[in-house]
Structure formats: C-alpha cells, structure tokens
C-alpha cells in the first residue's frame, strides 16, 4: 500500500497523533500546518488523500480545499471541531468527500481513510458500473440481479433476511419505510410491534456496512416514521 496521506492541522500535536495512527496502519504521512502549505504540498503526486482541518491560520481548510480541487483530483476528508449539520453540509458541498468531527474516533478515521482510498484507487468508474445495472450509493454498490452488496468493492456477507431488507431499501433510496412495511415485505406477514425485530436486523446490516455503526451514514432511522436508505 504505502499511500502517502497529507495531514493538515494548525495544532501540531493533533497532526502528530493522526500521523502515528496512520503510520501504524502502514501509510506514509506528509504534514502541513495551514492552508497555504496544504495547497503547496498537494502538488506532490505521491499524495493520494488529504485530511484537512477547517479553522486554520492564513488559509482556512474549505478555501484550501477549493484550490486543491483546481489542481488535483484526490479524496479529501475534512476534519473539524464544528459538529453541526450546517457545517457538515457546507463542507461536503464544497467538494469534501467525507466529514469527520473532532474529537475523532481513530478506528473510524482509519476506516474512512481506507474506504476513500479504495474507492479512488482500486475501484472502476462509477458511471461504468451504473451502466452495468448496478446500484451505486457512495461506498456501497448493489447488484440487484445477483443480490450482491459490495462496500468499498468488498462483498458484504448478508443473511437472506438482511439481503431482502437491503434489496428493498436499495431499490427505493430516500424512501421511508415503516417497520410494519419492511416486515410485511420481507417476512410476508402482517405484524404489529415488529420494531425490535426489524431494528435487530438493521443493526446487524449496519455493523457490516457502516464505518461507524453508531452514527450510520446509509441506513438511517427517521424517528417516529420509519427507516430509509440515505442517498449519497
């Protein structure tokens, strides 16, 4: 592997801590302290992914992100202490591929880095996959014909029930399904108070496909209404 990752933060201790974590996973790390350094460092073709903080001196992370996007096409993960929805949406709409809030969970961070690298380096063209009839949603690719779900290119092993649930949600991305509906469609029975049963299965699916199952990106609960597949 040995991909080079650019870590940008005005706090050197944080840069150091992230670097140690990443190096333990076998990545090479380049460091930068502000936006301008980051823009400069990204010109190094060895850099395959950027982890960048938002609030920095000289040039803030989001502005740097815009400049980097002009020069390179590579995955950028924003790492920020701003945890509000509006901040996340802003970051993602400025061209970030992922948004991780501080204080971060090291395992989750590594998982996200790995996921982004896989998608940028190992996987084929998204549009080509779509043409093949595959359903693509962020890191996930679902083949409805073969009923195969892949996360970052790796096939996810699902039980038949889980497959049915994934099939239902993937075919209707963004649509909210009440638990009863899911139960009726998957188990082919009417049921009341099936919330627990459905939730158990959804939790298992999350553990298999989500980077952080506690804060899922894909299968989400719409509180008081049902469940849905978030479209990325």
């Amino acid at each position: 592997m040995n991909e080079c990752i650019l870590v940008v933060d005005d706090d050197p201790e944080i840069v150091n801590a992230i670097a140690i974590t990443l190096e333990r996973e076998g990545y090479r790390v380049r460091r930068a302290c502000d936006g301008l350094q980051a823009v400069e460092a990204c010109l190094d073709p060895a850099v395959k992914l950027i982890l960048i903080d938002v609030m920095m001196p000289k040039l803030d992370g989001l502005s740097a992100l815009l400049r980097i996007r002009e020069k390179r096409n590579l995955p950028v993960i924003v790492l920020s202490a701003k945890s509000e929805d509006t901040d996340k949406i802003l970051g993602l709409s400025m061209g970030a591929d992922d948004y991780v809030t501080k204080p971060y969970n090291p395992q989750e961070l590594i998982a996200r880095v790995r996921s982004q690298l896989r998608r940028y380096t190992s996987l084929g063209d998204v549009n080509a996959e779509r043409r093949q009839g595959l359903l693509v949603n962020g890191r996930l690719t679902y083949d409805p014909a073969g009923r195969v779900l892949r996360a970052d290119g790796d096939e996810v092993k699902l039980t038949p029930t889980e497959t049915k649930i994934v099939d239902l949600l993937f075919r209707h991305p963004g649509q909210i399904f009440p638990a009863e509906e899911i139960y009726r469609r998957v188990w082919n029975e009417d049921a009341y108070s099936c919330e627990n049963t459905v939730m158990v299965h959804i939790r298992r699916i999350r553990e298999k496909i989500e980077l952080n199952p506690k804060e899922p990106d894909y299968i989400k609960v719409v509180w008081g209404i049902g469940y849905k597949m978030e479209q990325h």
Binding site: S83, K102, P106, P178, A179, Y192, N196, M199, W223, I225
Partner: protein
C-alpha cells in the same frame, strides 16, 4: 331552647321598634299639626277653663252686653254705635287686635248663635207696627236668661232690674253659691272679680294695654261712659258649664246658647288631646328603650325583612315612596304650605316655621307610611348588595351597555355625541314649534320673542355641533390609539402611530411611539446578546474540543502501547474514560445553551409518537438488555400523531431511558407509557430511584442530579436537555417525584387524524 329565646327576643325587639317609632311619629305629628293650626294658644297648657283668654274675652263681652242693657241701649253689639260712646276709636282698634289674637274658632261659633237669636228677637222690634205681634215689649236680656252658665243681675240707673236667677242681689253678694265660683261685679264704675273666693287684680297699673287681661271699662285710658252712671251689674260663671238648648217654636229651628260651654269643652278637649299624646309618647319611649336594649338581637328580623324586600323591583320601591309624598304635595294645603314656605315673603320666622310644620304634619298616616317605606329601603340596602337587587330597567340598561361595549371605542363615543346632538336638535325644534304656535295664536310674530329664543337656540346648536365634531375626531384618534396599543401588544414594533399635530391625543401617541421604539431597541439588544451568547458558547465549545481531540488521541495511542507497566495502563484508561465524558459534556453544554437561546434548529414534521418510542426502545435494546431492569411498556396500537422534530425527540427519550438505566434501583421495573387524552398525548417514564430523591429539587435545572456526589457518568444535563428539546419542539416536560418514584412526563398536543 336557646334559639327559641333568641327569636322571641328578636321579634319583641322589632315589634318594640315598630310600635315605638310609629307612635312617636304619629303623636309628634298630631301635636305638631295641632300646634301649627291652633289659633288660640292659651288653652294649651291651661287646666282651668276660666283662666283662658277666651274665657276672659267672653266675660268682657257679656259684661259689655249687660252694661248696654243696664244703660238702656239696644243689644246689638255689631252696630258699633254704642261702642263709640263706650271707648272711642282706640277701644275698637284694641278689640280688633284682641280678636285677631284670639283666633276665630270659639268666638265665631258663639257669635253666630247669638246673632241668630238676636236677629230673630229683634224682628218683632223692627216691625213694631205689626198688630199680629202682641208681645212687642220684650226684655232686652231675654236671650241670656236660658243660659244658666252665666247668672246675672243688672240694675239700671232708674232702679229697674234684669236677672235670670231667683236669688237676686243677695245671691251674688254671697259669692259662695254652689256650682258657681266666678263672680264679677260692676259697681260705681269699677269692676271687681272674685274667683274661688279670691279677688283678682283687674286693672293692674291702671292703664289698658296689650298685656292687660280684662277688656273692661275703668282703666285710666279706658274710662267708664257717663251712660253707666248708677248702673250695677253682677254676674256669676258656673264652675262646670252645661249646654243649654232652646227651640224657636214660632219660626222653627234649634239653638243653644253656650259660649262658656264651648270654651270649657275646647279646654277639656285640648287637655285630653295632650294627655293622650303624652301617654302615647310615654309608651313609645318605653318601646324604644326596650328596642334599644334588644337592638343587637333584632338583626335576624331585619335580615328576614330584607330577604323579603329584595324581591321588590327598584321601580316599585320608587313608586311606593312617591305615593305618600304625593299625598303631601297634591293637595291644596300642601300647595298652600309650599307657597307660604317659598313665597310668603312678609311672614315672620315663626310663621314660616308654622308653614313648614303644617306641611309636614298635614297627613300623619302618610308620614308614618313614608317613614316605614324609607326604613324598609334603608334596611334592604343595608343587607342586600346592589347586585342582588332587582330592577325592571337594569337588565334593559345592561343589555344596552353590553351591546354598546361590543362596538369599538370610537363608535361608542361618536354614538354618544350623536345622542347629544339629537337631544339639542329636539330641544331646538320644540322651541321653534312653540314659537310658531305662539305666533299663530297671537296672530302676529313677536320679533323680540323670536330673537330672544332663536339666537340662543342657534348658538346652542352650533356649540353642540362643534362639540360633537371635536368629539368625533377625538373618538377616531382614540380608536386608532386603541388599535395601535393592541398592535404593539401583538408584537408590531415597526409602524409608529402618526396623529395630526393638533390632535388631542398627539402627546399620548408620541409616548406610545416612544414605548414602541424602546421595546424595539430592547428586543434587538436582547436578540443580539442572545446571538452573542450562542456564538460565545460555540467558540468556547470549539476551543475546548481542540485540546480534547489531542487528549483523546494520545490517550488512545497510550492505550495501544503494549510495554506499559500495568499501573500506567490503568491510568491511561482512566484518562481516556474521563476525556470521553468531558467530550459528552462539552457537546451537551453546547446544545443546551443553544436551546436556552432559542437558537436550536428544529425540523418539525408529523410523526407517530408511539412509533418513535418503539424505535427508541429498539435502538437502545442493547443497553436495556444489559441494564438488568425490567421494562414495562404500554403503548397504544394506533398512531399518535404529533408535530415535532423526530431527532430531538429521540434524544429526549434516549436521555430519559438513559436516566432510568443509570439511576433506577437494580432489578426494579421501569414503566414507559403513552396515553392520549383530550387532545394531548402524554408519554411518561417512571422508575424507582436507587438513591433517595431529595425533595424540592428541580431535576430539570442544569447540572442537577439525584445525588450530590457527581461521581457517576452523567453530565447532569440529561433532563435539562430533555426539557429544552421538548419545549423547542412545542411540547411540555415535567418531572414528578413521590418518595422514590421518579416520573418524567412529556406532553404534546395531538394532531387530528387526517
């Protein structure tokens, strides 16, 4: 027993009051009436009728007539011929004054009878040529003979005697005949009187004046006529006069000759009247004393009466008072008295007082009735508040007022102005109508009258119109002011109220605009400071998170070090745990401060609260299974639709369940229930606390926990966040504690099923 005694006392007290007051009014009224009308005051306090002025007057009159007989003249005291000889003009004038002072009643009666007799007897004299009347020669004392109340003996200068008693001169000289106690003798031009064996001083200082009691000749300024030379008259008056009757069988008719009898009767009557009234007043006084002693216990009776009278309409009361008043005013005496009181300019003060007294006492029963009506009304007003009294007019007026109040204030004011204008116009029209009538009937227009009436009328109409116009514009401004106040109250701080420069309410409007501007400034300031507060918290939270990130990262790295001594590994673990807790707290503080500043973004949508609770339970299945508590869940099958932010509300119930898991007694049951009632949904989480719950603690306040040690994992913000989030979503949150039972209740209004 006791109550019976009390009610007896009350009744007795009230009856005493009633009797006493009635008696006092009626007897005082009767006495007052008598005083006001009585012309001769002398018999009022006199027990002996012979001591009255009327008696003395009558005696003087008798003497006059006897002396006339003695002098040989005609007995016709109205001719006045004799009197000129008797005493001249002075005497006649004096007599007129005396007659006026004595009044008319006793004398008129006596005179009429006497005169009738005299005329009758004088008739044969006037027709002395009539041969059919043989008894032409009649004694001049003929008509006095029958009246034995007066015995007389007249001896003329020629020695002729007239008498009506067989006793002769000796009878009078003895002065001690039974039944007769008053003796008068006229001898040698002097009058001497003996009454009850005692001589009376007749002439006083010898000059006749208004204070002299006896109108008899013999004073220095009232000399005896020469005609009376040698005339002697004796007369005696009976102690107790009797009535003597006579019948004229020739011409028909009955007469009686009893001047003294009348005087005695009137004295007797007067005495019995005053005695009776005195007795009545005495009884009344004792009644009032009794009432005064019992006045405290009569209260229930008064109350009872008030409870009866409360049903009487106010209008009826008015009429009831008016009726006895009318009895005073709508009679001739009433008018006369009122005329005397207000227009009797020449009257002295005592006469004026008498006129007042006459008016007041003219109808004593009406006076009594009037008093009791007034008392009843007073009593009623004392015990019955204004609200419970009945009136025919009141509901009508109230209805009018209620209708009036429904209109905006400017309408009300302008309606009142219109009413005023209408009244003035009617008045003007009426005046002009009467002017026209006058012109038509008199036949020619009285230009002076027209001018006098028309010009002020014109002025009045003009003034009323000007007043109404001013009032209308004031009403309009007032309406705008009221609207503006309402608008400011509703939160409109943008548009100030602009009134014209000369408006009455200009100053007030300006003040209101100032208040509005002040409120706006205060609100902006408040909003700004809230925003600053949130920004501050946001910055602080960010600044806290940056070092926290380092701490957490290095703690994690430290944990991954394999060759640490076991103690150091433990320390690293503790640092990691506490740093995580710090992270939670920082996030919670941030959220709660945003909620407190109303800056919490909420995404409201229709959702099923029951489903949300099931999802929350399912989501937290892991911790619940691990918690060792039994969850008793009672959720309705059907949807309970509310409007809220699902994620926030999930956080609320997550916190509540967390709270239960954290603080509930090991192995106890946690009750989660959702109930709908009267348009609201109530979700409650109940658990038994593992530690004693302190009383009087607001668990929803920030950083408050059941135990004060703060060593457990909670931030102390769970319930506070739950409350803030619930309220941000439009629900209400409350905590109830009963002993160790902890209940958190979330209430939301239920959406109607669509």
């Amino acid at each position: 027993m006791d109550t019976k005694w009390n009610s007896t006392k009350a009744l007795a007290g009230f009856l005493a009051f009633f009797l006493g007051v009635t008696l006092v009014i009626s007897s005082l009224g009767a006495v007052g009436n008598r005083l006001a009308w009585e012309r001769d005051p002398s018999p009022r306090w006199e027990t002996d009728w012979q001591n009255t002025a009327a008696f003395r007057d009558q005696v003087s009159q008798y003497l006059r007539e006897f002396l006339t007989i003695g002098a040989g003249g005609e007995v016709d005291f109205y001719s006045g011929e004799y009197w000129e000889d008797y005493g001249g003009d002075v005497a006649v004038v004096q007599e007129e004054a005396a007659r006026a002072r004595w009044g008319f009643y006793p004398i008129t009666e006596a005179v009429v009878v006497d005169r009738g007799t005299a005329e009758h007897e004088a008739e044969p004299d006037s027709s002395d040529s009539d041969p059919a009347k043989p008894e032409k020669e009649q004694d001049p004392d003929e008509r006095y003979r029958n009246d034995k109340n007066v015995l007389y003996f007249i001896e003329t200068a020629e020695g002729k005697t007239y008498t009506n008693t067989a006793g002769g001169r000796a009878f009078f000289l003895a002065r001690a005949v039974s039944d007769y106690n008053f003796y008068l003798s006229f001898q040698d031009g002097r009058v001497s009187i003996v009454k009850d064996g005692k001589g009376l001083d007749v002439y006083g200082n010898g000059l006749y004046n208004e204070e002299s009691q006896w109108f008899v000749p013999g004073y220095d300024n009232f000399p005896v006529s020469e005609d009376l030379e040698g005339v002697t008259v004796y007369m005696a008056a009976r102690r107790i006069p009797q009535r003597y009757y006579g019948v004229d069988y020739k011409n028909g008719g009955t007469y009686y000759n009893s001047a003294f009898y009348s005087i005695a009767q009137s004295v007797e009557e007067s005495q019995s009247f005053y005695r009776t009234q005195g007795l009545l007043l005495f009884i009344a006084m004792w009644c009032l004393v009794l009432w005064f002693a019992l006045r405290k216990s009569t209260e229930p009776v008064n109350k009872k009466i008030a409870s009866w009278t409360v049903r009487v309409w106010t209008e009826i009361r008015f009429l009831l008072v008016l009726c006895p008043l009318a009895a005073f005013l709508w009679t001739f005496t009433g008018y006369q008295s009122i005329y005397d009181i207000f227009f009797g300019w020449g009257n002295s003060f005592s006469e004026w007082g008498m006129a007042v007294l006459r008016l007041i006492t003219m109808n004593v029963p009406a006076l009594v009735v009037l008093f009791w009506f007034c008392w009843l009304i007073h009593n009623d007003h004392k015990y019955n508040p204004k609200e419970v009294r009945r009136s025919l007019l009141k509901p009508f007026l109230r209805g009018l007022r209620a209708r009036d109040l429904k209109r905006p204030v400017e309408k009300r004011l302008s309606r009142r102005a219109a009413l005023m204008i209408l009244a003035v116009l009617l008045l003007g029209a009426e005046t002009i109508y009467f002017l026209i009538i006058f012109t038509v009937f008199v036949g020619y227009p009285s230009w002076l009258l027209w001018t006098i009436c028309f010009l002020p009328m014109l002025l009045l109409v003009w003034a009323a119109a000007a007043w109404a116009r001013g009032n209308l514009s004031l009403a309009k401004d007032l309406g705008r002011l009221a609207d503006q106040v309402e608008a400011v109250r509703a939160g409109d701080l943008e548009r100030p109220l602009k009134l014209p420069e000369d408006a009455d309410l200009r100053q007030t409007a300006e003040s209101l605009n100032d208040i509005q501007a002040g409120m706006k400034a205060a609100l902006e300031e408040q909003t700004r400071s809230e925003r600053m507060k949130v920004e501050l918290v946001s910055n602080v939270s960010h600044d806290l998170k940056t070092p926290l990130t380092s701490i957490l990262s290095y703690a994690e790295l430290l944990r991954q070090e394999e060759d640490l001594p076991p103690a150091a590994a433990d320390y690293a673990k503790i640092i990691d745990q506490k740093a995580h807790r710090l992270k939670t707290m920082v996030e919670d503080v941030f959220e709660i401060s945003r909620a407190a500043a109303d800056q919490l973004p909420v995404h409201l949508e229709r959702l099923d609260l029951g489903k949300l609770l099931r999802q929350t339970l399912a989501d937290m299945d892991g911790p619940i299974q691990a918690g060792g508590l039994t969850f008793k869940v009672e959720l309705p099958e059907r949807a309970v639709m509310i409007t809220a932010d699902g994620r926030r509300l999930y956080r609320v119930f997550q916190n509540l369940l967390d709270n239960a898991l954290r603080y509930a007694l090991e192995g106890s049951r946690v009750y989660l229930s959702l109930k709908t009632m009267e348009g609201s949904a109530e979700a409650s989480v109940r658990n038994t606390s593992h530690s004693e719950l302190p009383e009087g603690v607001d668990f929803t306040a920030r950083f408050v926990r059941g135990d004060a040690s703060r060593t457990d994992g909670g931030s102390g913000l769970g319930l506070s966040i739950a409350k803030s989030f619930t309220e941000a979503c439009g629900g209400s949150f409350r905590v109830e504690t009963v002993a160790d039972l902890f209940t958190a209740i979330v209430t939301f209004p239920v959406e109607e099923e669509r």
